[in-house]
């Protein structure tokens, strides 16, 4: 592998979260009966005309702002002409020469390494309908509910060098589009799907011929498809065959890619500006208005977490994986106090994440409000709870027991014993009852010390402050 360099560029179709379609008033909701969400415009009756949905433009502006791209003051909708039964007009309205968004970049992270992926462009277009080949006895059914659904096609430069980087980019983009609320990110329903352009070359050589893998709708398929494709291309070249430019499909069942059409039978789409639509004009005032409505972006928030809360870059990135996660974390800090930010972070990324994972739960559905988690954190900070007890409180609150951490501590009698007099007395009792361990410790066996700590903790049923027990025991044994 090391003698080959992999070059990947991604084109992502993000379905925009608008109420209605990009050029008609029909609803965009998923899952309706076939053709019930297709109006006269969507089915391309004679005489109908498209009217641009300004909400879709707002989505494009938001993305442009979020990736530091330039937003065209004037972009043009073009017709991409081809015949297909689920393309009712015989052309798709898209943007060709002048897209709404140009340039920009996205920072990705693979392990501890950060990398910038440059974006080429993002343009608005309409989705096609669906051809249904099953259930029609050798015929094809057409469902035009999806026809006219607004899409933003986001195209990168060929900046990725491995399937891992491609997946990291796709995840970062997925996180960003859901963060800014322009896409629901539902990959199973096709709301976020990727095409991967893959080629290989000897390091330093010009770009190899690429093949485009179409329509990958999960991160796992994205990775599998790219990995298979890379190996296939290397094998081809090593066996002396040149790569032909082609469009390929990934079969998740076999894990293989296979060619759909080659460059020779590529369409001539005969793009030309759509005379039914005026050029899209975006004023600086409109951009400003959209900017005011934009939430704090993940990059900015990560930087703030590092500087304000002293978190590592990795933790900051983890906590800003989704906007809900970040909000939960910050709500927790508000209630727990900024000085406990690190503990909040540990609990959100640790216990909470693990529990969510076990229950396959999104953070929005978590039964434990951030203020409740903050309550636990505060009791850890003031020494009331050990980590072990805190976990017990967490489980109880998760299960809906008690109105807050203090109520659970009270009801279960979980209060950590920090009263030094009480601990002192217990230590004395344990020392008296275990002369052998004392002997061994004095003979240099550190293990014996741990046994004594264990005895003290056992005697308090885990409620003693372990640090305090440790310190006092050592002092006693040292003759204090």
């Amino acid at each position: 592998m090391s003698q080959w360099e992999v070059v990947i560029g991604l084109e992502t179709h993000a379905q925009l979260r608008t109420q209605s379609k990009i050029f008609s008033g029909a609803a965009t909701a998923f899952g309706a009966e076939p053709n019930r969400q297709a109006c006269a415009v969507d089915i391309a009756l004679p005489g109908v005309l498209p009217v641009l949905n300004r909400e879709a433009v707002v989505c494009a502006i938001k993305l442009g702002l979020a990736v530091n791209a330039s937003i065209a003051p004037r972009s043009v909708f073009a017709r991409k002409n081809y015949f297909y039964p689920d393309l009712p007009k015989g052309y798709q309205i898209s943007q060709f020469e002048i897209p709404v968004v140009s340039g920009g970049s996205l920072t990705i992270r693979v392990g501890e390494t950060e990398k910038t992926v440059r974006l080429t462009r993002a343009h608005l277009e309409e989705d096609a309908g669906k051809s249904l080949h099953e259930d029609f006895h050798g015929k094809t059914g057409i469902d035009l509910n999806r026809a006219g659904t607004p899409l933003l096609e986001i195209v990168t430069e060929p900046d990725m060098r491995s399937s891992l980087e491609a997946v990291a980019y796709a995840k970062a983009l997925h996180s960003l589009v859901t963060w800014i609320g322009i896409c629901d990110g539902n990959m199973q329903e096709g709301s976020f799907r990727c095409d991967a352009n893959v080629s290989v070359r000897r390091p330093g050589a010009p770009l190899g011929t690429r093949r485009e893998i179409k329509n990958l709708n999960s991160f796992r398929f994205l990775q599998q498809a790219i990995d298979f494709e890379i190996q296939w291309q290397i094998n081809e070249i090593e066996e002396g065959r040149a790569i032909q430019q082609a469009t390929v499909l990934f079969d998740p069942d076999t894990g293989e890619t296979r060619a759909m059409r080659s460059k020779e039978d590529a369409h001539d789409y005969r793009y030309f500006p759509d005379p039914d639509l005026l050029p899209l004009e975006i004023t600086p005032a409109w951009i400003e208005e959209v900017k005011r409505g934009l939430p704090e972006l993940p990059q900015a928030m990560q930087a703030r977490f590092v500087s304000d809360y002293g978190l590592s870059g990795y933790d900051a990135a983890t906590l800003t994986a989704t906007r809900d996660m970040a909000k939960y974390f910050e709500d927790c800090i508000v209630a727990a106090g900024r000085e406990n930010a690190k503990t909040c972070a540990n609990w959100v990324m640790g216990e909470l994440a693990a529990r969510m994972n076990r229950d396959s739960m999104e953070i929005a559905a978590v039964p434990l409000a951030p203020t409740l988690l903050a309550g636990i954190v505060r009791r850890i900070a003031d020494g009331t709870l050990s980590n072990k007890l805190a976990r017990e409180v967490f489980e109880a609150l998760w299960a809906g027991e008690g109105k807050d951490a203090d109520a659970v501590i009270e009801a279960r009698g979980l209060k950590q014993i920090s009263d030094s007099g009480a601990i002192e007395a217990l230590i004395d009792e344990v020392l008296a009852a275990n002369p052998k361990s004392v002997e061994e410790f004095r003979a240099g066996k550190e293990k014996a010390f741990n046994a004594l700590v264990g005895q003290v903790m056992k005697a308090t049923r885990g409620k003693a402050n372990p640090q305090q027990v440790n310190d006092r025991l050592r002092q006693k044994l040292a003759g204090g």
Binding site: A40, I43, A44, L45, P46, G47, V48, L49, P50, V51, L52, R79, N81, F83, P85, P88, K89, G90, Y91, I142, D268, R270, Y271, F272, P275, D276, L277, L278
Partner: protein, 485 residues
């Protein structure tokens, strides 16, 4: 009554001299009698029409001053979608298509209380200048049935000329209102691009298509335009402007009017009889107080070639939706998807439509786009600039609407280029998006009508209607009617 103006019809309704049902019946009977000869209508539905007429009579709005069109019959070019009526666009492709919705224009006339008389024949998908390309057979010119009525709104022109309808809608992409109006002796107006909604008007060339009225007089056209024009949020190219009363200036004197005469319109190519009628009309205008000045439209010679790149390019894409998948003609037998497409379209479209789809596909193809389409768009700008320059020294431009009077059937249909040249004076107006009119100004060879073309700056409709109306007050060409009908 069949010769009455819209105002007179409205007055008759107001004075209860006639009801909407009686008016509708009168015209339906004429259609029944004369349409078999003229072939102007492709769809007539007596019951639907009479139902609308009864509703108009019951509405209490008939003859009212604020609803001057209520109860008056009107026929639509079959390019406008009409809910519940077959809408064919003159094509086999849509010969069985019944529209589930109304075009904005149709909706507006319904709201004005007008009664739909039927759907009018036209060149297939508005591609033609003689009505010979219609799947439903050619329309005959009521002045001489061996001659064409012009096109593509030939059915509209013949119907109004033969008094089968008091007025009609038309559409004009390269002259399709003005040329048939001229050849049938009518007043036809193509408004400024964007003034009349294109929603529900089956697209031929989106950047050129514009609907407009065809009637007996400028006054009638002004009333019809009042009902037709206006911003439509369903058409992105429709213009948001304050509403106007296009009849407000009809009677203004023409003293001081500056008429521009483009020398390019008065050179070779115009028949002597047409020239004589146009010159006589200009003399009449001078008598009315207007002055004529020579203007230049140096790029007008490029308008036909530019048009025959842009219009087919847009048409080739606009007509892609007629694929046999969802509605319209589908071949009975086919082997696979591609075969279904080719057979359905080969059978559903006529030769002229296919010719333009081929031209359009070619000029948009990779490697040819810059040389043809982009170049044509540049020419288009030059043509618009020429007009802007000309309007610095005149208020309205005049010239012939067509180079000759109505020609005989078959005379030009074998040679597309000859046919295309019959729109030589009208096409530049569409390329520039300007308003244009044709008004009757005399008779030429074979006693066939001659049309005078008026061209105005953008949104000068009220002015143009005034200029036309004052002429029609002084002359009676527009009141002449074909003999024997």
């Amino acid at each position: 009554m069949i010769n009455a103006s819209l105002k007179e019809l409205s007055a008759a309704l107001a004075q209860k001299k006639a009801s909407a049902v009686e008016l509708a019946t009168l015209f339906l009977e004429r259609i029944e009698k004369l349409n078999p000869t003229l072939n102007a209508f492709v769809t007539v539905d007596r019951e639907k029409t009479l139902t609308m007429a009864r509703e108009a009579d019951a509405s209490g709005k008939v003859g009212a001053s604020d609803t001057p069109l209520s109860g008056i019959p009107l026929a639509h070019k079959d390019i406008f979608c009409t809910e519940g009526w077959r809408t064919t666009c003159g094509s086999k492709m849509l010969s069985n298509f019944v529209s589930p919705y109304d075009a904005t224009v149709v909706e507006k006339f319904k709201a004005a209380g007008m009664v739909t008389l039927g759907k009018l024949n036209m060149d297939e998908f508005a591609m033609g200048s003689s009505n010979e390309t219609s799947f439903f057979g050619p329309v005959k010119n009521p002045w001489d049935t061996s001659r064409v009525p012009g096109g593509s709104s030939g059915g509209s022109a013949a119907a109004v000329a033969a008094r089968l309808a008091p007025a009609a809608t038309g559409t004009d992409t390269g002259g399709s209102i003005r040329q048939p109006a001229a050849l049938c002796g009518l007043t036809g107006l193509k408004p400024t691009y964007g003034l009349v909604s294109r929603y529900g008007m089956i697209a031929f060339a989106s950047s050129l298509d514009q609907g407009g009225p065809m009637a007996k007089s400028a006054e009638d056209c002004s009333l019809l335009l009042n009902a037709m024009a206006g911003f439509d949020p369903r058409d992105s190219t429709s213009l948001e402007r304050p509403t106007e009363d296009y009849a407000r200036d009809l009677d203004k004197p023409l003293q001081g009017l500056r008429i521009g005469l483009p020398k390019e319109f008065f050179g070779e190519g115009m028949d002597a009889d047409v020239r004589a009628a146009v010159e006589a009309a200009l003399a009449e205008y001078r008598k009315l107080g207007a002055a004529t000045v020579e203007v230049n439209l140096p790029n007008s010679g490029l308008s036909v070639p530019a048009y025959y790149v842009i219009a087919p390019a847009e048409a080739s894409s606009n007509l892609s939706r007629f694929d046999g998948v969802r509605y319209g003609h589908r071949a009975a037998d086919y082997a696979d998807l591609t075969d279904m497409y080719s057979k359905s379209r080969a059978q559903g479209f006529g030769d002229e439509v296919k010719r333009r789809i081929l031209i359009g596909t070619y000029v948009l193809s990779h490697g040819y786009y810059d040389a043809y389409y982009l170049q044509a768009q540049k020419v288009r700008r030059l043509i618009a600039n020429d007009f802007a320059e000309a309007f610095k020294s005149c208020d309205v431009i005049m010239g012939p609407a067509t180079p000759s009077v109505a020609f005989k059937f078959g005379e030009k249909s074998a040679d597309p280029v000859q046919m295309y040249l019959s729109d030589i004076y009208t096409i530049a107006v569409n390329l520039a998006g300007l308003p244009g009119m044709s008004i009757p100004c005399g008779f030429g060879a074979g006693d066939m009508p001659v049309g005078l073309q008026l061209i105005g700056p953008w949104f000068a409709e009220a002015k143009m209607l005034n200029v036309a109306h004052r002429y029609q007050r002084a002359t009676d060409w527009h009141l002449r009617m074909p003999a024997g009908l």
